[in-house]
Symmetry: C2
Subunit: 112 residues, 2 copies
C-alpha cells in the first residue's frame, strides 16, 4: 500500500468519480470496491476519502443524501452531478496525456 501511494496521489478524485459514474454509492462501499479492484493491494485512507468527498461536493461534482436504512449504521450516499461527469471525462483525458508524458520523461537515452 505504501509503495504506490505517492504515485496515486492526485488521482483520488478521479478514482472516486469513476466509482460513481455507474450508480450512487456510499463511502465505505466505495473504498471496499477500490480494495477489490486492486486485488487487496490498495485502498484510500479514511481521512483521504472523506476529505475528497468534501472537496468534490464543494466543487459541485457530487451531491449527497442520507440512506434510509432501518438497521445498521447510517450511510451517506453520493451521487455524481452533470458537472462531475464533465470533470471525470476531463480527468481521464488528462491522465492519458500525463501517462505518455511521464513515460517519455522517465526513459533513459540509451535503450538496449
Amino acid at each position: 500500500m505504501s509503495i504506490a501511494a505517492d504515485l496515486l496521489r492526485g488521482h483520488t478524485d478521479t478514482i472516486i468519480l469513476a466509482r460513481l459514474m455507474d450508480s450512487d454509492n456510499y463511502g465505505y462501499e466505495i473504498n471496499k470496491s477500490i480494495l477489490q479492484r486492486t486485488g487487496g493491494d490498495y485502498e484510500l485512507k479514511e481521512a483521504t476519502l472523506y476529505t475528497a468527498f468534501r472537496r468534490l461536493e464543494q466543487a459541485g461534482c457530487i451531491s449527497s443524501y442520507w440512506g434510509d436504512e432501518q438497521t445498521g449504521a447510517r450511510r451517506r450516499y453520493y451521487s455524481i452531478t452533470t458537472a462531475g461527469r464533465d470533470t471525470y471525462n476531463s480527468l481521464i483525458s488528462e491522465w492519458k496525456v500525463a501517462k505518455k508524458m511521464i513515460d517519455s520523461l522517465i526513459e533513459t537515452e540509451d535503450k538496449q
Copy 2:
C-alpha cells in the same frame, strides 16, 4: 503546463534521476531537456527543481560539484550515485505497477 501538473507530482525525482542516468548534467540544462522531450508542454518550476536536488542529494541519490566554466554563469553539476541508480530502477518498477493500478481504478463498469 497547469493541466498535467497535479498528475506529474510525485514523479519529479524519477524524472530528474532519468536525466542523470546517461551523464552528469546541471539544473538549467536538465530542465531544458525536459521541456524539449515534452515538445514544450512541460518543465519543472525552478523551486520544484532545486527542492528536488536538495532532497535527492540528502538521500544519497545524487552528488554535486561546481563546473569549471571560465565564462558565463556558474553551473552546479549533478551525478547519480549507485544508490541513485537503484532508486531509479525501483521507481520505474513502481510506476509500471501504479500505471496499471490507476487504469483499473479509473475505469467505469460498463464499457461499450
